[in-house]
Amino acid sequence: MARYIALIVAFVIMIGIFAAGLDRDPTKLPSPLIDKPAPEYELPRVMDPLLTTGSTDYAGQMVLVNIWATWCAGCRTEHEYLLELAGRNEIPIYGINWRDDRDAALSWLQQLGDPYVASAYDEDGRVGIDWGVYGAPETFLISAGGNVMYKHVGPMNEATWQGEFMPRIAAQTGATR
């Protein structure tokens, strides 16, 4: 009997390690920037390269910074949702167009709609590196004080918004009152 139980125990342990591993899945690693100041940047805009946009634009506000690109499938998936979220006027969304082709990015925004207050054009990915970006899409929640409160890897959706972002926003705004 013992060896059969041993088998089951070994299996359960293995599942446990997998479950823990899933949690530690690289795409779910907490950003080393959590609770640290978000990197500053200033880049030309996607919509109008003669103008710039950067972290100073949203200083003092709580915002979302969304890393996106036209070559990224997940960005396409989350785009509708971002439009919808932007339409609710709950929080400004700033974009960083990461390692992309500006013309493609421009047509994308023109054809599909632009949920961003402004999108910065990070052609070579330098700013992305500062933010610890290793894939797109990623979305950061930045506090009014300029700190990174949360980073979500993967497409944004309502479940994530409600489950991860809203509670943190509520905690922040509650704390400042």
Binding site: P26, T27, L29, S31, P32, L33, K36, P37, P39, E40, A69, W71, C72, R99, D124, G125, I129, D130, W131, G132, V133, Y134, G135, A136
Partner: protein, 148 residues
């Protein structure tokens, strides 16, 4: 009985050898900053990862040997490689190298250089390290400007 005894002994020896080989073949991922501090093994293989510093790829024209510098935005490491670099290797890209330090610890002699198979993704370990140091740099910069 003798057969069983021999088999058991064989099993034990095999297990010991296997575990031994495991320890020897284990390769740890070590941050470049740690290597710079001297915290990297001197006589065994390990992995490093970082960005290829722009303009750092040098080779004697016509020769296979190449040197380039990797950075984790905090420290740098010179990597030497004698072989064909992978298709997706380029400056500014995040890559991982397997190898060991040379005798005086100044260069990393790579026997394998790996770039992710998709040029827009960076190995997660590298990204983590980079972000950590980018943040540290910013903070340091702020502190300086704050003092002035």
């Amino acid at each position: 009985m003798l057969a069983v005894g021999l088999a058991a002994a064989g099993l034990v020896i095999a297990s010991i050898l296997t575990l031994q080989a495991f320890k020897e073949n284990l390769m740890f991922y070590i941050e470049i900053s740690e290597v710079a501090k001297g915290n990297a093994p001197k006589d065994r293989n390990f992995r490093v990862g970082g960005l290829v510093v722009e303009g750092s790829v040098t080779r004697v024209p016509g020769e296979l040997e190449v040197e380039f510098t990797l950075t984790d935005l905090n420290e740098q490491l010179v990597v030497y490689y004698d072989g064909i670099l992978p298709d997706l290797f380029r400056e500014g890209q995040g890559i991982i190298a397997h190898g060991r330090l040379d005798d005086d610890g100044s260069r990393f002699i790579a026997d394998q250089v790996l770039a992710k198979h998709d040029e827009n993704y960076m190995p997660p370990e590298v990204a983590e390290t980079l972000a950590k140091h980018a943040a540290a740099q910013e903070a340091a910069l702020d502190a300086e400007t704050g003092q002035q």
